[in-house]
């Protein structure tokens, strides 16, 4: 049996879903769109086991966004794989009138409906205010008071859902006399017996996306489409008139405690000055936690994978290609994926707490006007700021932006924000041309100032590009923007936990595949070379090591340096040399640019390897950094370092970001667009920077 939960956003639908299914959940994606498909199992392992589907939140059966469209498709199309046998309409007890709008639409659809009046714990003596029995009689469907938070009413609800529910609901909307003929025609066209479904098709044929286009076009000819909004408004008025009758035995509860608390808290949280200060403090706290706490598991993961690689190397035949492939290709690729998990988990921990408590909509409220000129709404603020930590979870967060164009713009510019992976590159490169100089009377350091400048530059560029994209896409950010600011409440930790789990899982299993493929390709480029140059180098160094075994270590490093230079990556680096010449780069930097496509921080490792140092050059390590900077400084003028710095500030040097963009846009086209525009931007900016630097330095 399939049971679907539907209801308004903020009605506690997901909490109820969690309460009914426990941890038996999985999350996927609806094909072709970026809408989560949440499935769970209720009464697992018992004869009453049933599949539960948590549909995206909707206010009515007239969709306004991509996820609402999915929910409506499932409800309207009896052949959809998620079309359920029982529909549980989840209502917010404190917003009963509004919740019944959707409920009466569902009963008009003549589907088996159960009404779950959720969050009754928010109303003291809820029985006094809501007359559940009379409401059930008037709606002619089962009505169950529940609280997902206190778990009251969950068992009675489960019991009702054990056996099929009859189609019994009161029908509210009558088809006007003059329309009956055309409605009959549409019923034939879309193959339904239901008047109301045909009426929906009559007034909004273009939202019937599940039907073939030919059918849709036939419906459009019958439809008064120019007046569809007026007809929807009229329908809603009819419904609300009837709902007021349904609720005449119930009283509107007096202002709840949560409501009073919200009014008070908003005096603080959206205060014209205090509000911004609090927002800034919360951001600082999150970043502080991210950098100080997430750092430990990240180092742990790197250590575990390092040891694992050593272990595999020791049990496999020495120097065999297979062992090389497993450890440096596959294992390193997996490590590169897993290392993101702490950052993703931590960021989503904070973000879901902010969402759960209702604070997020206050951020939107505070930032909306400021962001609007750039094609953003307040919703884009969090993904953009998150980009300063890591673009990967930030792009995943953009899912909460309802407008598809705004979401796309946000995703496309987020990688311009300077993320934490750029830091080692920045540290290495600023050391090359910025003197170690105290400024502001010893308060700061010139290097720090340059670093800050880079962050600001990334942010300004993100706004600039967003503004251009907005113009290019002809996106007008002036649509109606009316939204609910939910009452403040304590976070429900189970919801927080499931969000973290779902996001991490989605990243590992859906994005991970792409990342693994790219890293194996990059490994292949580094590990193979044209002709038999590799074997020549092998024999040459084997001979040398045999002659002077005491120099074995340094000879091995020289060997890997020479091998890298003659690998395909090396050949490619040399091939692109004429292309990157204008930026001041030679083929050695070319190799580093290519290999650091995996992740920006790989740049330091590759440069180290070219100079015959170990590949695991650590920028944090004073001595190693000094050696590397000295070697680079010997060969390149400061202008090159400056040009590289600008290049890395803008370039799309991160395969994980690319992979997650593919997942979140659902399109290779936009992913390619992102890669190309960022590369061109980086190239252009680095060119200008190099020319200027040549004049100045």
């Amino acid at each position: 049996m399939k049971i679907a939960l539907i209801g308004n956003p903020n009605s506690g639908k997901s909490s109820l879903f969690n309460a009914l299914t426990g941890m038996n959940q999985k999350v996927g994606n609806y094909p072709g769109v970026t809408v989560d498909r949440k499935l769970g199992e209720m009464n697992k392992g018992t004869p009453h086991s049933a599949t539960l589907i948590d549909l995206p939140g909707i206010y009515s059966l007239y969709p306004n966004s991509e996820d609402e469209q999915i929910a409506c498709d499932i409800i309207r199309n009896p052949l959809h794989k998620d079309h359920a046998d029982i529909w549980v309409v989840v209502a917010d007890a404190t917003q009963l009138r509004r919740s019944l709008l959707l409920c009466t639409q569902m009963t008009d659809m003549q589907l088996p409906v159960v009404l779950a009046v959720n969050m009754i714990d928010l109303i003291e003596d809820s029985d006094k205010y809501i007359h559940f029995e009379k409401l059930a009689a008037k709606l002619a469907i089962p009505v169950i008071p529940v609280s997902a938070r206190t778990k009251s009413g969950i068992e009675p609800l489960k019991k009702i859902l054990q056996k099929p529910v009859p189609i019994s609901g009161t029908r509210v909307l009558k088809i006007p006399e003059g329309l009956q003929l055309v409605i009959e025609d549409i019923k034939g066209l879309i193959n339904t017996e239901n008047d109301y479904l045909a009426y929906q098709a009559y007034i909004t044929p273009d939202t019937f996306t599940y039907l073939p286009e030919a059918t849709r076009n036939q419906m459009k000819e019958l439809s008064p489409m120019h007046a569809s909004r007026e007809l929807i408004a009229n329908e809603m008025l009819v419904r609300y008139d009837r709902i007021d009758l349904f609720l005449e035995d119930s009283l509107r509860p007096v202002a709840t405690l949560a409501e009073k608390r919200t009014i008070l808290l908003d005096k603080i949280f959206i205060h014209p000055i205090g509000g911004y200060l609090i927002f800034l403090s919360i951001l600082l706290l999150i970043f502080q936690m991210l950098f100080s706490v997430a750092e430990f598991p990240m180092q742990g993961i790197e250590w575990i994978f390092g040891e694992l690689g050593e272990g595999i190397r020791s049990i496999m035949p020495q120097g065999s290609m297979f062992s090389h492939f497993v450890t440096d290709g596959v294992l390193a690729g997996i490590a590169g994926i897993v290392v993101f998990v702490p950052q993703i988990a931590f960021l989503f921990l904070f973000i879901s707490i902010l969402e759960e408590t209702g604070y997020m909509s206050r951020v939107v409220f505070l930032m909306d006007r400021i962001m609007r000129p750039f094609g953003f709404s307040g919703r884009s603020v969090i993904p953009l700021i998150g980009g300063m930590a890591c673009a990967v979870p930030s792009i995943m967060m953009a899912r909460t932006i309802p407008n598809p164009k705004e979401r796309l713009i946000t995703i496309l510019v987020t990688p311009l924000m300077s993320c934490s992976a750029r830091l080692p590159v920045y540290v290495l490169l600023t050391a090359l041309f910025v003197p170690d100089m105290k400024i502001l009377g010893g308060l700061g350091n010139l290097k720090g100032l340059v670093m800050l400048g880079l962050y600001v530059m990334g942010f300004v560029m993100a706004l600039l590009v967003a503004f251009l994209l907005k113009k290019l896409m002809n996106y007008k950010s002036d649509g109606i923007f009316v939204s609910e600011m939910p009452l403040y409440r304590k976070p429900r930790w189970q919801n927080v936990g499931t969000t973290i789990w779902k996001k991490t899982y989605a990243f590992l299993y859906e994005t991970g595949k792409i990342i693994l493929v790219i890293s194996v390709i990059l490994w292949g480029l580094k590990s193979f070379g044209p002709g038999n140059r590799f074997t020549q180098i092998e024999t040459k160094y084997d001979g040398m090591i045999q002659l002077s075994p005491e120099k074995a270590d340094s000879l091995k490093m020289e060997k890997s340096s020479e091998m890298l230079k003659s690998s395909y990556a090396g050949v490619l680096g040399k091939t692109i040399e004429p292309l990157i010449r204008p930026l001041g780069y030679d083929w050695k930097i070319g190799i580093s640019l290519l290999t650091s496509f995996a992740a920006r921080e790989v740049f330091t490792g590759t440069m180290g390897m070219i100079y015959g140092m170990s590949e695991s050059v650590e920028v944090e390590d004073e001595a190693q950094r000094k050696t590397l900077t000295e070697r680079i400084a010997k060969e390149y003028p400061p202008a090159v370092a400056f040009s590289l710095l600008i290049f890395y500030a803008f370039a799309m040097q991160c395969m994980s970001t690319l992979a997650v963009t593919r997942r979140e846009t659902g399109s290779w086209k936009w992913t390619a667009f992102m890669l190309i525009y960022l590369t061109l931007l980086a190239y252009g900016a680095a060119f200008v920077a190099y020319r200027i630097a040549l004049e100045w330095f």
Binding site: Q95, R98, E230
Partner: protein, 75 residues
Amino acid sequence: MKKRKLSVLKIGETATISTVETAEMQVALMNLGVLEGDTCRLSDIAPLGDPMAILVNGTKISLRKKDAEKVWVTP
């Protein structure tokens, strides 16, 4: 009775929604359970004067200034 636009209300002022100009706006408000005849109170105005938030039927709703200009209230 004298009609005003919702957008001219001051913080803390209470009024009754009398008419909503466009069907689109009407539907957007009705989705959130806000109907003509409901009483609302302007509770917050963001810095820069936009957006604004109203308390209505026990919930808080934020709307942009240009949308609030489509809503007429009495008194």
